[in-house]
Symmetry: C2
Subunit: 501 residues, 2 copies
């Protein structure tokens, strides 16, 4: 065994990666091309595949190979990182008793079902009992995973390895304290940009052509990936840089919805296509955290895709595709609409200024739930109270309040903060990019997006999961996760847009 531990480890890592890739394609198919009645056999196939993945992940032989390699000083940096990544995933799988895994999976199915019905009927009481069970099970799971007193850490870590509440909570609180006045200042201007597309129709077939052009221009390799349409846009595929798949959703009366969705998912997709190709079947070909993955989609969607230089280049192109539909739409009106800020009830429709406040509502509630300071029954009131304080709004009912997201019905507590972390990382990276490539905005204005991708590829994408997310960002920017670059970015952008002081 000793001398074969490395080849044993690599063969098993490859097998896990292959299984994960197969699951990825089955899941993608489920959302794109699977016929309506195919859901039942697909659920069985996925459950069987996930069971096999879990079985192979917790196999004692893999654990032994990992333990042997951890004693071997001769391993290179890449091999050490591979071992660390698989060890981390395996430890989390081993620690949770299979009885709990099954209970969670079963309750998730029931809860999602109940959530759908309860949301339509605006009846939180029908969802509450399921939420109670999920909270109990996830607390149990957190205790099984282990933590140093803060239960939430064990869940957060599943999405954002080595992030801790101890550091995240004060950081997000500072962010909140800085965002609330900015939102208020914007609201107080009373400016409400008009929708320049109102009453106009944009042929989805032509929208589709434009999204494909955007993908190509951004640097997405359409021979190593594809775009399709689905109800909810996502990025998936074979978990390999040579097969990355994204989806978008086009709406005839709201062209920006599809364009921004394509740019967002393309940001995820460019990251995955940029993972080290020669390590495509290893644990290096993945993002070190959900937050860093999200930083890439938001970097392209918000920082680049909502910028003036970007549309200085693309608005004329769009105008040549939709000459009548865009007649009379001036760049200023386009920009004002694209970047309008307005406190709203629904997270997925929020602008980049208010978005993080939606995350903060959820983060504070999740933390209180896991600490046992809050019960499921108290959620609607606690939710509405925070919406009032952070955004000055009160949901008319729970379907546009505490029940708006599917995440809690999946039992996903600890996931939401990664959206905010992604926003903060993206601004840290932009600030560094501006320093290292002084003419970057002029290049973007000329449609030369390659300078941006090249920089991200070299600094972030090609690194894969060699370093933990925050170490990698520090290596690139010289700083740990912080809110300052994000707030600087917002003020710099929204001060002129809304005429703030």
């Amino acid at each position: 065994m000793a001398q074969d531990a490395l080849s044993e480890f690599i063969a098993r890592m490859h097998e896990l990666k292959d299984l994960g890739g197969a699951i990825g394609i089955l899941s993608w198919d489920q959302e794109t091309y699977m016929p309506a009645k195919g859901g039942e056999p697909r659920a069985h196939q996925l459950a069987t595949m996930q069971g096999l993945y879990h079985e192979r992940l917790i196999a004692p032989a893999l654990g032994e190979a990992i333990a042997a390699l951890e004693q071997r000083p001769s391993l290179g940096a890449e091999q050490r990182a591979m071992v660390r990544n698989v060890r981390w995933e395996r430890d989390r799988a081993v620690k949770v008793p299979s009885r709990l895994v099954v209970e969670l999976a079963e309750e998730q199915s029931r809860a999602v079902e109940a959530w759908r019905g309860a949301r339509v009927r605006r009846d939180f009481s029908a969802f509450r009992p399921h939420l109670e069970v999920l909270i109990r099970l996830r607390r149990e799971q957190a205790d099984a995973l282990g933590h140093a007193g803060e239960r939430y850490d064990a869940l957060l870590e599943g999405y954002e390895p080595s992030m801790r509440v101890e550091r995240l909570a004060p950081l997000l609180e500072r962010l909140r304290e800085k965002l609330v006045p900015l939102v208020k200042a914007i609201v107080d201007t009373g400016r409400k940009p008009a929708n320049p597309f109102a009453g106009r129709r944009f042929d989805p077939a032509k929208q589709w052509e434009f999204t494909l052009r955007l993908m190509r221009d951004l640097g997405f390799d359409l021979e190593a990936g594809r775009q399709d349409r689905s109800t909810h846009p996502f990025t998936g595929g074979a978990g390999h840089p040579l097969d990355v798949r994204l989806t978008t959703r086009l709406e005839a009366d709201d062209p920006l919805s599809g364009f921004m969705s394509t740019i967002h998912e393309c940001g995820h997709g460019l990251y995955e296509q940029g993972f080290p190709l020669e390590q495509g079947r290893t644990s290096l070909a993945q993002a070190p955290s959900f937050g860093l993955h999200e930083s890439q989609s938001r970097f392209w969607e918000n920082l680049v895709g909502r910028s003036r230089p970007f549309w200085a280049h693309y608005l004329p192109i769009l105008r040549s595709l939709f000459p009548q539909e865009l007649a009379g739409v001036e760049p200023e009106a386009f920009d004002a609409w694209l970047n309008r800020v307005e406190p709203s009830l629904i997270r997925v429709e929020a602008d980049e200024v208010t978005y993080n406040l939606h995350i903060l509502v959820r983060f504070e509630l999740e933390l209180a739930l896991m600490r046992g300071q809050l019960q499921a029954a108290d959620l609607p009131e606690a939710w509405n109270e925070r919406m009032r304080t952070f955004l000055g709004l009160t949901p008319s009912d729970d379907s546009v309040g505490v029940m708006q997201d599917i995440h809690w019905a999946w039992g996903e507590f600890g996931y939401f903060p990664t959206y905010a972390i992604g926003n903060l990382y993206s601004a840290m990276l932009l600030s560094r990019l501006e320093q290292e490539v002084p003419g970057v905005w002029e290049a973007i204005g000329r449609g030369e997006l390659k300078v941006v991708l090249d920089w991200l590829r070299a600094r972030i994408h090609r690194q894969g999961y060699l370093l933990p997310a925050e170490d990698l960002v520090e290596q690139v920017t010289g700083s740990r996760l912080c809110e300052a670059p994000f707030m600087d970015y917002l003020w710099k952008k929204y001060r002129p847009l809304y005429g703030l002081r």
Copy 2:
């Protein structure tokens, strides 16, 4: 164990079925939507999945459960059939040493690669060494599988369980003796129908609409399956009646190519959608043999889809879609072209009269190879000699002769006869259908295809793999596999078409 053998067996059968379904979707995706560069990771994913399938199939616990159930007289007919089917597949997997499985897989990859190049360069000598290895390995495999002196039986059985050379060879020889004079009689008439579509173009988008209409009319449930386009049409999917996927290929200058391809694959697809739904995750939800599967595609494509009543209904519909393109095309000319008989070099382009002669060339050669009566080096000459005798043609070179099919490069010996068996079964079934449903052709002429599907569903599809293929056909028609109904069908159809005596 004893009292749990049934649940153990069923759980393992379900798992195998789920894995097989996942492999089916991955393979379908590979031919339809996978991006060009995705082939490398996909090959790894499929190899891993197939390895897992094999591992689970040969698991001792499955063997023990089967052995225990075979001792249990209380099992119902369906359960006994499930056990028999899995036992059969498992025995074949267990008997072949894994060393040989790996050698075969590796040599298949190399041989397909060599075949592609050799075929382009028309150089059999570059393919020959690989063919020699494959012949040797397949002979070894046959001996490992076991047989009673006729090595070919062990391979044939892999596609057509319980069929034997002893019975098949004389049957196919009789078929050849009857076909050769029919072909000669047709050729001697000197009639060569003109192509009524020459110089006309049929918009593929409209062809596509028509193929979907055909599918719906034939009874294909588009909520439990779909059609896509691929280079080589095939039927695949999740191996479950609720998710069946077919592909077609459309050519602007040859509309019948796509229509007949859709009808052919739809015949396969209707069979799979008709498997017993409540047994969808069991070994009953499959065809008992490749020949019976093929009988369904050929039944619809040739017996129904090339009939006068069928086009009496559809030609007017097609004409309303393509009024200009079909201007002046009379039903007689359409029918004559659709059913033209002409000896040709290429099997996949052959008509239903000469098709089986192409199969006979291959069957006789495969048999001689497995018996050791023929060497790979002698194949081109032996091939050309038979083409002269059976069809009166001599290939100009081996690319349109012995190297035209990919099957031998895959090492598939024993597969070709199932095409002929399918043709014979289809005519046996038609003959019986005509007896049981006297007005069937009038119904087809009115576009009422449901009577045909209902009959096939009740007699064949819903049976799944409850009985071996020939037992099922005998149950339906009262007869074992024979050539008479097929020859009757051909003479009845082609006598008037070609004015034969």
